[in-house]
Symmetry: none
Subunit: 222 residues, 2 copies
């Protein structure tokens, strides 16, 4: 991941550069905002900009504005000015976060991660064994390949995945599906499980994923 750091306090610049490099980021540091803007507009290989507000030649807000004209790269403001007015202006001009100096480099790092996670849509994606649940997409991937599930199949499978190795009774399943008030009869559930198994290429006699618990219900083997 490539970070553009625009910071004219060379001591701070070096500190942040070292810290980020130690955390596997590639850092391009600039003390001149004009040169930084030139670099940004000629290249397109940056993943995040860390921007100081007090800069020579050009005001940090202007830099922010100018970046937004050419790119939607995440921008974190790193500034000694921490009053509300500056924050309002920064967010107004399109910044994603604002850190008031002095701050722990670690905090910069976790805020960067939060932004990346949000941008990449990684929030809410859960990995359970070889299955990946993306609730926003309403999709479950098995080893990266999407399963073609109907709505109830999807919801039953999510319920199972969320309770690995626990026996879920048919009653529990029927009562805990997300969304409307389903009222699934036992045999309907059996049918859905059967269809789920076939889509997972699972075999009820020696199940890899969904085990029948005789007299009770089903269990996901996690």
């Amino acid at each position: 991941m490539k970070i553009y750091l625009i910071e004219d306090d060379l001591e701070m610049q070096e500190l942040l550069t070292d810290y980020l490099q130690n955390h596997d980021y590639t850092v391009f540091a600039f003390d001149d905002p004009v040169i930084a803007l030139e670099a940004l507009s000629s290249r397109n290989d940056y993943d995040l900009v860390i921007l100081d507000l007090m800069l020579p030649k050009l005001d940090g807000f202007d830099v922010c504005k100018k970046i937004r004209l050419i790119s939607n790269v995440p921008i974190i403001i790193s500034s000694a000015r921490g009053n509300l007015g500056d924050k309002v202006a920064a967010f107004e001009y399109g910044a994603d976060d604002y850190l008031a100096k002095p701050y722990e480099p670690k905090e910069l790092l976790i805020r960067m991660d939060a932004i990346f996670r949000r941008i990449k849509g990684l929030v809410g994606v859960q990995q359970i064994g070889e299955f990946q649940i993306d609730e926003r997409k309403m999709e479950i991937l098995q080893d990266g390949y999407p399963l073609e599930l109907t709505r109830i199949e999807y919801e039953i499978f999510i319920l199972l995945l969320h309770h690995p190795n626990q026996v879920l009774s048919r009653e529990y399943i029927s009562g805990h599906l997300k969304g409307e008030n389903y009222n699934l009869k036992d045999r309907a559930i059996d049918m859905h499980i059967s269809n789920l198994r076939s889509k997972l290429f699972d075999d009820f006699k020696s199940p890899k994923y969904i085990k029948s618990i005789w007299g009770v219900g089903y269990k996901f083997i996690g």
Copy 2:
């Protein structure tokens, strides 16, 4: 936009509720995290959670974790504890931002906006696949050529474009159009989607752009 506020300090709760309501947000306030979690898991109509860390019964971090199991809703931590360790933990558990009390409500507001903007892809240039949104002209260009959309078609399509690959329920669509005061019935939405598809030369049986998610809603394929 619907905000879930989980805060047991009733004074703070009222202050934030009033402030946010004055800024056109619908606020559901909870002082009991268990009840809040129940509400979150049974409904799916929230756009953001503001979460205090010090709560009765359940630790705020646990609440955060539990929310992440069922939703990718943006979470902003609002806590009296402001040390680095708490921040690290909060972001670790999937929070999007962290405000240490006391803070100006205005700062909460601008940080919320920054998150929404980022989620909706409203930052900077709006090019989504072969579509380019020109909000000033109220136009959507496909490969440079403007689509002839009516107002509601335009707004529905923007909503879809801003959530690529995500399943949007009819309820969500109806509740999140720009004008905000629409109250589209399900079949009206279907009709608009049908008209949109025909203008995009899309085919519902093997859609290139708008896929129907049976029993739920629609999804833009991005």
